[in-house]
């Protein structure tokens, strides 16, 4: 890459394209989160349970995101791995009101982190402790502890409490992710 390109990159002029993977158990609010990021005219009014996956595009501060919004139902979780190899970031959505399944979340997260296509790669993981509006919802701190996030050493991570229905907390999260992705790309080049 020439000097000029490098400069452009550093300054964030050139449009960057990244793939991110959106995972988490079913009903945690993944599709609702992604829908929030989309342009007004592309937003869906009704979110139906995802069968398989959907590809959605959105932009944040000049970075183009191609999000693979995966289905979280048991039958499809085993298929996430087909999309690990070429992602540059992960958004992991957790239903913070679903205390019962927090252990399942932990298990799935560990499987993901140990996967050969993920383990050791330096890319950011953003956690949304979603549905914070629900009464009895766990705080993001409790969730981070419950999932043992502090043990993640090979990646940068961040957790935000969010409400995907109103959009609260989402912007903060995606800004962090964008920042991380930028750094990753400029380091790489």
């Amino acid at each position: 890459m020439g000097f000029w390109d490098k400069l452009v990159n550093l300054l964030g002029f050139k449009k960057k394209e990244v793939n991110i993977l959106v995972v988490g158990l079913n009903n945690s609010g993944k599709s609702t989160v992604i829908n929030h990021f989309k342009n007004e005219e592309e937003k869906l009014t009704e979110i139906v349970p995802t069968v398989g996956f959907n590809v959605e595009k959105f932009k944040n501060q000049n970075v183009g995101f191609t999000a693979f919004d995966m289905s979280g139902q048991g039958r499809y979780r085993d298929l996430w791995e087909h999309y690990y190899k070429d992602c540059h970031g992960i958004i992991f959505v957790i239903d913070s009101s679903d205390r019962l399944r927090l252990v399942v979340v932990r298990e799935e997260l560990n499987l993901l982190l140990q996967h050969p296509d993920i383990y050791g790669r330096r890319f950011p993981i953003l956690f949304f402790a979603n549905k914070m509006d629900v009464r009895d919802a766990l705080s993001s701190v409790k969730i981070a502890a419950g999932l043992g996030l502090d043990q993640i050493l090979d990646k940068s991570w961040h957790i935000c409490a969010s409400n995907a229905l109103t959009g609260e907390g989402l912007q903060e999260g995606v800004e962090w992710l964008t920042q991380q992705v930028r750094e990753l790309i400029s380091n790489r080049s």
Binding site: E17, V18, N19, T50, V51, G52, F53, N54, V55, K57, T66, F68, S71, Y76, L79, H82, Y83, K85, D86, H88
Partner: protein
């Protein structure tokens, strides 16, 4: 222009194909770039093209390979390139049956089919339906219903056609889309209307009444789409044919009038379809035929080759059934024999051959010879079939025609073509004794250089059968033995078998044959050696009866049944030796199947009406599995009946009700060694009744003992269920023939026609009178083919018992009728074509062979003489005197 020229040249040299040298593993590896971000659409499109090319060339992908490729393709959903996306849908469709977890793209495809980009929508629907299994259908049902009535005609058509495909996996779900399909029939788009009609018909096709209503409604509303009208004509045609065969005539004229009116439609396609339907209708009268034929006649002189082709092809097909009507077009056909389109010319000439006079044969054959080398195999077969028909019609022309055939045999050609020639020569030989020696000579010459093993084997078999009975059997030995030296193992084995036939039938050739067989015992192939050893040791004994049984007549039992029986025997070994008599006999093909091996009666209905196999496949299946074998399969699943032993014979189904009654019942009579099983197939045609405990009560003649009744527990609307009655045959054989009164008995529960669920648990008993069941002698006899009846008869003279009687058959006036009656009555197989009465004879002898249940052989000789009615001297030889007695008394 230059580029075009070069392309053409390259094509001829076989190097014009840019994909010629691509290789599967390389291409699959290239799919890695599908993961790139952002995707390179041009490159990806190119790779997808290669994958599709490979798949369409028949390249096989393993499950893992296919799954990996499939998931790589799914990454392309992120591309916005229309071309790439559409290639992607095709890729998904192609891999949907091989790869695993293909439902992963369900949401993505539903999004595309409902999205804003019209170019994606139809293709996404097609891909979606190919990845959907029954469990996922619920999830997409809503979208499918919407798509069927979509304003975009491409989308609507795609949804309709996909629905048709889905009926294969989930007919019931698709039935729920009937309202949407109904709405789509009103569409302005010609294709949507056509496809909607296809779906509607498919949903209703098992319900005659509903189809009738559909047709009645649509014929009144005058469809816009010519495709839909064609389809409607085909449906109407089918209804007419069914009505014809079931004897009803309620709506015959309305339906016929509709088809007839289509002869005046403005679209040529529709006019042709109507004419085609009318000439093919079994019941068409010559008055009805005339307008249809004039339409075809007009098409014969159309400037459009497709119309000329269609017309002459149709005339060709009906030339045999309506010769007079087709003769009316002779002049037009004559004009077509020089048509620059060779296919049209071939059809025109062969049509003329079928209908023409004997005097024109030579002229037409010369004409055809001038271009036969230029036409494709498919049309050469048409020519061969015409020649076959001619030989049967003008036996005297056999030498011209046979020469023509043998010339064709020497030309290049595929197996099907060569087989049709050989078949024709064989038919000629069988039909016309005078042609036999020349025919065999041609075939001998042909096998000298025949690349098709199956054909060589068949011809060798024929030589073995016919050769020994010619004037000079020795001349065939050399041809046959040459095969042993020069050919592959299957042909050598067939040659060994053929030689043994000569050894068994011609005593003066025996020493030579034994020398040849001894040499074959040194063969490298097991089968050839085994056969040679087998035949050698049998012939060595010089025992006529032994040779008759084990060489000339061959195996009479059905091979699949034998295999099954032997397998059973080895699973549970016993001290009792295996009894060959316990194995059901092989089916003897009916005369109709022999004369008409291509199954002409079977019509291809067009894509939407039925999935009927092509004619040739149907008959191939029919020949290999006998009726008994398929019934035996079914009866084995009825635990109450397994103790009865092997199934001996099953009758044709007999209708016990009028058609179009509340309940339709047909009976099949199964004979076992000691038992009779009556199988009653019952159909419930009342949509407001659920029948339970359905059974048939029979009143058997004296001597029969009721052993078991197996009722059908539950019979919902429009389903067929089966009830069985098992009886023991009377000891006294004479008492086995008789009439059974039969009554259908059941419990009725009234139910809601919409859901089929009963209104309450209460029901009431009811019954329904059926027609009588007749048990005949023929039901207890299985046909046996005797290749050499004379030898068998002679042998039976020593060891069997014999009864003889004379009858006068006053009800018949010709020998042909008498022969037909006696063959049908006894249910035995005429040997050596003795059921054909030569023209102008006043006396004739028929030879019949069969086996009575329990394994008793029967041979019958019936000498018939014409004298105010027909007198018949019947001689019966059987291994069981009671059986002989039964046959002679039953005839009287």
């Amino acid at each position: 222009m230059n580029a075009f020229k070069r392309d053409k040249k390259e094509e001829e040299e076989g190097s014009g194909n840019p994909f010629q040298n691509i290789e599967k593993t390389t291409v699959l590896q290239e799919t890695r770039i599908f993961n790139d971000c952002p995707v390179d659409s041009r490159k990806c499109t190119h790779i997808l093209t290669k994958i599709l090319y490979l798949l369409n060339q028949g390249e096989q992908l393993g499950t893992t390979e296919a799954t990996e490729t499939f998931f790589a393709i799914t990454k392309l959903f992120q591309s916005q390139d229309v071309i790439l996306r559409r290639m992607m849908y095709l890729g998904i469709k192609e891999l949907s049956t091989i790869a695993e977890d293909v439902i992963i793209v369900t949401s993505s495809l539903t999004k595309d089919m409902t999205g804003k980009e019209d170019l994606y929508r139809a293709a996404a629907i097609r891909a979606l339906c190919s990845i959907t299994d029954v469990s996922m259908l619920q999830a997409i049902e809503r979208y499918m219903k919407q798509a069927i009535v979509d304003r975009n005609s491409g989308v609507s058509s795609a949804a309709l056609v996909s629905s048709l495909h889905l009926t294969k996996i989930a007919g019931d779900v698709v039935k729920r889309w009937v309202n949407e399909a109904q709405e789509a029939v009103n569409s302005d788009s010609v294709m949507v209307q056509y496809h909607a009609l296809g779906v509607l018909y498919h949903i209703r096709k098992s319900d005659r009444l509903a189809v009738n209503k559909l047709v009645a409604k649509l014929t009144r509303m005058s469809l816009k789409s010519p495709y839909a009208v064609c389809m409607l004509i085909r449906i109407a045609y089918k209804l007419l044919e069914e009505e014809d065969s079931s004897g009803g005539a309620s709506s015959y004229s309305t339906l016929f009038d509709f088809i007839e009116s289509c002869l005046r439609h403005k679209s040529e396609m529709v006019i042709y379809e109507a004419a085609h339907a009318i000439v093919n209708l079994r019941r068409t009268t010559s008055v009805e035929l005339a307008p249809a034929v004039s339409v075809l006649q007009l098409f014969c002189s159309s400037p459009k080759p497709t119309l000329r082709f269609a017309a002459v092809r149709t005339l060709n097909k009906v030339a045999m059934s309506h010769p007079a009507a087709v003769t009316a077009c002779n002049l037009d056909l004559e004009n077509l024999i020089t048509d620059s389109n060779r296919s049209i010319a071939t059809l025109a000439i062969t049509t003329l051959l079928k209908t023409g006079a004997e005097s024109s044969v030579d002229r037409l054959m010369k004409q055809i010879a001038s271009f036969v080398s230029e036409i494709s195999d498919e049309f050469k077969i048409v020519v061969v079939q015409a020649i076959r028909a001619l030989c049967l019609k003008f036996p005297r022309k056999h030498s011209v025609l046979m020469n023509f055939l043998s010339a064709m045999l020497r030309d290049e050609g595929g197996l099907e073509y060569k087989a049709s020639i050989a078949d024709t020569i064989i038919t000629i030989i069988e039909e016309n004794p005078e042609a036999k020696e020349t025919g065999l000579a041609h075939l001998c010459e042909f096998i000298e250089d025949c690349e098709h093993t199956s054909l060589a084997v068949r011809i060798l078999h024929l030589l073995g059968k016919e050769g020994p009975r010619t004037k000079q059997p020795s001349r065939y030995i050399r041809f046959i033995y040459n095969r042993v030296i020069l050919e592959n193992a299957p042909v050598r084995a067939a040659a060994v078998a053929a030689m043994s036939q000569f050894g068994a039938t011609c005593p003066d050739l025996l020493p030579n044959i034994q020398v040849l067989l001894a040499r074959c015992q040194m063969d490298t192939d097991d089968e050839v050696r085994d056969r040679a050893t087998y035949y050698y040791s049998i012939l060595e004994k010089q025992d006529k009866s032994l040779a008759n049984h084990y060489i000339v007549e061959g195996l009479q039992v059905s091979i699949p049944s034998l295999e099954r029986a032997l397998h059973q025997y080895t699973i549970s070994p016993s001290d009792v030796p295996f009894d060959m008599k316990s194995v059901p006999l092989a089916a003897v093909p009916s005369a109709e199947e022999i004369v008409n091996p291509s199954g002409k009666g079977v019509q291809a209905d067009g894509m939407l009406i039925s999935t009927a196999l092509s004619g040739s496949k149907v008959s191939a299946v029919a020949v290999t599995v006998s009726r008994e074998e398929s019934y035996a399969e079914k009866l084995r699943n009825v635990p109450e009946l397994v103790a009865l032993g092997p199934l001996f014979r099953s009758s044709d189904p007999v209708e016990l009700t009028e058609s179009e009654t509340e309940y339709v019942v047909r009976c099949i009579k199964h004979s076992f060694p000691q038992h009779l099983v009556l199988q009653f197939d019952c159909l419930n045609t009342l949509n407001d009744q659920l029948l339970e405990n359905v059974r048939v009560q029979v009143e058997p003649p004296d001597g029969y003992q009721l052993v078991r009744e197996v009722p059908c527990p539950c019979l919902p609307y429009s389903e067929t269920g089966t009830a069985y009655v098992a009886l023991k045959f009377p000891e006294e054989l004479g008492a086995t023939i008789g009439t059974f009164n039969a009554t259908l008995k059941f419990l009725v529960k009234d139910c809601d026609p919409a859901t089929g669920l009963p209104d309450s648990d209460e029901g009431y008993d009811d019954e329904y009178m059926l027609e009588d069941v007749e048990v005949t002698l023929g039901d207890q006899i299985q046909k046996v083919t005797k290749t050499n009846f004379g030898a068998a008869w002679e042998e039976a003279g020593d060891s069997y018992c014999e009864l003889e009687d004379t009858y006068s058959l006053s009800s018949v006036s010709t020998l042909e009728e008498a022969v037909k009656d006696i063959v049908n009555f006894l249910g035995m197989q005429p040997a050596e074509r003795s059921d054909r009465v030569p023209e102008g004879k006043s006396s004739h002898t028929v030879f019949l062979a069969g086996v009575y249940r329990g394994g008793y052989d029967i041979l019958v000789r019936a000498k018939l003489a014409l004298a105010e009615g027909v007198t018949m001297q019947l001689t019966v030889r059987s291994t069981n005197p009671d059986v002989a007695e039964l046959v002679t008394s039953a005839v009287g």
